[in-house]
Symmetry: C2
């Protein structure tokens, strides 16, 4: 019996490992799932990687990441849409039911305009998502990424774009790092439950001090996020999917990854 059936790790969390190494190590650690970042599929056949994942006793939870829809020109937006179609194909080939969307933003372009381009971009890829039965999970990003990574910075904003698209394949990937500070969090997570649109739940922690805006996330328990509290909120909203550990950390990437993996498993048991 797999001792951590609901635990999933993102390949980027153990960045030094190839996807093949990650699959082997995660399975050995008794973890249930793996989320594959697209860079880890480069030069691979995603169907074969999917087989390897299942042969190891793991489930392919999602593909990270699509998105980055907004752009100043229609030609650039068309390129982004094509890249998202490719991500959907990769997820289908891998056997993953979900593509996570880091939706994108353009510095200086009004965020409302970017949100419209995001909604339009998602609408454009929905026919293929339907055909291949792949879900699309909008990940609200922390407001410190509103300049160039995502114009969707709160659960409310993600819910609003989902409402606009109103499609069973469009939902939300909730990452504690991005949303923990939000006074409306409980209410907005509850709303995702009512609408059956909470597709993923990502874990890490917020460090004090945070010394890098991108790559200084903490291991669960190292920081100030109320992980058990937020888990209770998503479970109250009916979420029973994977608990995905997604840690970008120059500090953790620099240590022995076997040791780090053991710490992830322990921290998950203690703090989540």
């Amino acid at each position: 019996m797999n001792p951590h059936p609901k635990l999933c790790i993102h390949t980027i969390t153990t960045k030094p490992w190839s996807v093949e190494t990650a699959i082997g190590k995660y399975a050995e650690a008794g973890i249930g799932g793996i989320t594959v970042w697209r860079q880890w599929l480069e030069g691979r056949d995603p169907e074969k990687i999917g087989e390897r994942i299942r042969a190891a006793g793991l489930e392919a939870v999602s593909v990270c990441r699509g998105g980055f829809f907004p752009a100043p020109t229609a030609a650039e937006r068309a390129t982004a849409i094509e890249d998202n179609r490719q991500a959907i194909r990769e997820a289908a080939a891998l056997g993953a039911p979900l593509v996570v969307l880091v939706c994108g933003a353009v510095p200086g372009q009004p965020l409302a305009e970017s949100r419209q381009q995001i909604a339009d971009g998602i609408a454009a890829v929905l026919p293929l998502a339907e055909e291949l039965n792949v879900r699309l999970g909008i990940e609200p990003l922390h407001p410190m990424y509103a300049d160039d990574r995502s114009a969707i910075n709160t659960m409310a904003s993600a819910n609003e774009v989902c409402d606009r698209l109103d499609h069973p394949l469009v939902g939300i990937a909730a990452d504690v790092y991005h949303i923990w500070w939000d006074p409306d969090l409980a209410e907005q997570i509850a709303l995702t439950g009512e609408k059956n649109r909470l597709f993923a739940f990502h874990l890490c922690d917020w460090l004090t001090p945070t010394v890098d805006l991108l790559n200084d996330r903490g291991l669960m328990g190292e920081g100030c996020i109320d992980l058990k509290g937020i888990r209770a909120m998503v479970e109250a909203a009916g979420f029973n999917g994977y608990h995905e550990v997604e840690i970008f950390s120059n500090r953790w990437w620099a240590v022995d990854q076997d040791e780090f993996l053991a710490k992830i498993v322990r921290a998950y048991g203690e703090h989540c």
Copy 2:
């Protein structure tokens, strides 16, 4: 005639200068106001600094900063309250009508609890604020400071605490750096107008990339914030106070401050 009557600069913006140097340089540049950070008053008599400000033809716009009310123990909270009383006395001595509050947060303490401690702390200092006729401006801080600097991270949250206290001396200091990303910004700024509680308006810019969470703010025009758009919102809300330039920047503090001051004045004219 003062060529920039509505322009105010925070002493921390030109960090290498003493308050005496800043007063002289700002006046020479034709600026209308100065906001004095408390560190600049150390070893000085604030009354004398106030006289010097007025003699130079400037107005003392505010004192930065009070706040940091939340703490795990009642004794620490009492110390914070006493320090805020001191800030109020300094503002009164200086002749500044406002103390800006960076309200505080404690890593790991629920933000709702911190907000209650903030409201309690402000309530505790209000009698002195009334006696000395000094306003208190809650500054919502960017969510990236929710761990240890402020549990008030949106205009909505600041408005909510103001509603709770419901006092004409309690209002909001709106800093574009902290609030520019907020989808509810226009609506929440309009609300501050209805309630007559927009006490201050701070300017700088958001850089892409931002390489330091604290000290990498941009000069107006260097970044992605829609400064004219937000200015239009505050003016539509009836705000006609100073436009305060508050830039924490290791990069700008390292250049010749006379040159930087000239650039601030130019950027203010062009981008705000």
